[in-house]
């Protein structure tokens, strides 16, 4: 079955983003397909490459990055949500003349059309947050 996952929740503030991560891992382990991850609202903070956690705590952002790269997942950050929260890739950083890149390269910054496409193409759209 083809799944798309929408994540609205920030990491650490609630369990939702962790649940999303575990759900995506389970979907892949059980041999299903992830069509797309779509991060929206506070969910875009899951793609921050500038997060540091204590050694005995899981760094969810790094875990997402590893999961996305290992499985070559299509991961999209909603552009309007991302840039207002300071989550920018090299392209947005340059466009707005900012002095850094805060998003992992494993996610792409794009528009809501990617969410609409995911809803059309996927058998299931599952939201967290």
């Amino acid at each position: 079955m083809k799944f798309s996952i929408v994540i609205y929740a920030a990491p650490y503030s609630s369990e939702a983003a962790f649940s999303a991560f575990r759900f995506v891992s389970a979907v892949i382990e059980q041999g299903h397909e992830i069509h797309r991850l779509f991060f929206m609202g506070d969910g875009v903070l899951n793609a921050s490459r500038l997060s540091v956690t204590p050694q005995d705590e899981k760094n969810l952002q790094q875990n997402w990055d590893e999961l996305i790269r290992k499985n070559s997942l299509d991961s999209v950050l909603c552009v309007s949500s991302a840039i207002k929260r300071g989550i920018v890739d090299a392209g947005e950083s340059k466009r707005y003349e900012l002095d850094g890149v805060s998003a992992f390269e494993s996610s792409e910054i794009a528009g809501l059309g990617q969410l609409v496409d995911a809803s059309v193409v996927s058998d299931r759209v599952v939201s967290f947050g």
């Binding site: 929408v6 609205y8 929206m40 609202g41 506070d42 309007s80 949500s81 528009g111 809501l112 059309g113 969410l115 609409v116 496409d117 809803s119 059309v120 759209v125 939201s127 947050g129």
Partner: protein, 119 residues
């Protein structure tokens, strides 16, 4: 692309970003020519109230955003009757026209939709 997306917007207009996210999703879906049902449920019904003055808290008006739905071809705006009555509200309090629906009606909408966004 042929697909009905039902968006259930259940948060009050300004306390969180949820109301605005639902509106953005609805407009994007309409731009990509999807059939959209927009349902106001629970505290989401407050989004429809007349007399909103969000400028005083540096916010943009949610009811004005809902009023442009028609221009995007979104005609199916529904409001849960039970959510209105439990908040002592009725259609005369609303700035945005929405079709009243009971719980069974909302269940039917969900049943016939390919995708449901619930926020």
């Amino acid at each position: 692309m042929d697909n009905t997306i039902t968006i259930i917007s259940r948060s009050a207009p300004y306390g969180s970003a949820n109301a605005r996210l639902c509106i953005d999703i609805a407009l994007a879906a309409a731009v990509f020519e999807q059939a959209v049902n927009f349902v106001l449920l629970d505290d989401g019904v407050y989004q429809l109230l007349s007399g909103q003055t969000p400028a005083v808290i540096d916010s943009k008006s949610v009811d004005a955003a809902l009023e442009v739905f028609e221009l995007y071809g979104i005609d199916n705006i529904y409001v849960d009757e039970g959510s209105l009555s439990s908040r002592n509200l009725s259609s005369e309090h609303l700035a945005v026209e929405a079709k009243p629906l009971d719980a069974a009606g909302i269940a039917a909408l969900i049943e016939e939709s390919a995708t449901v966004i619930n926020l």
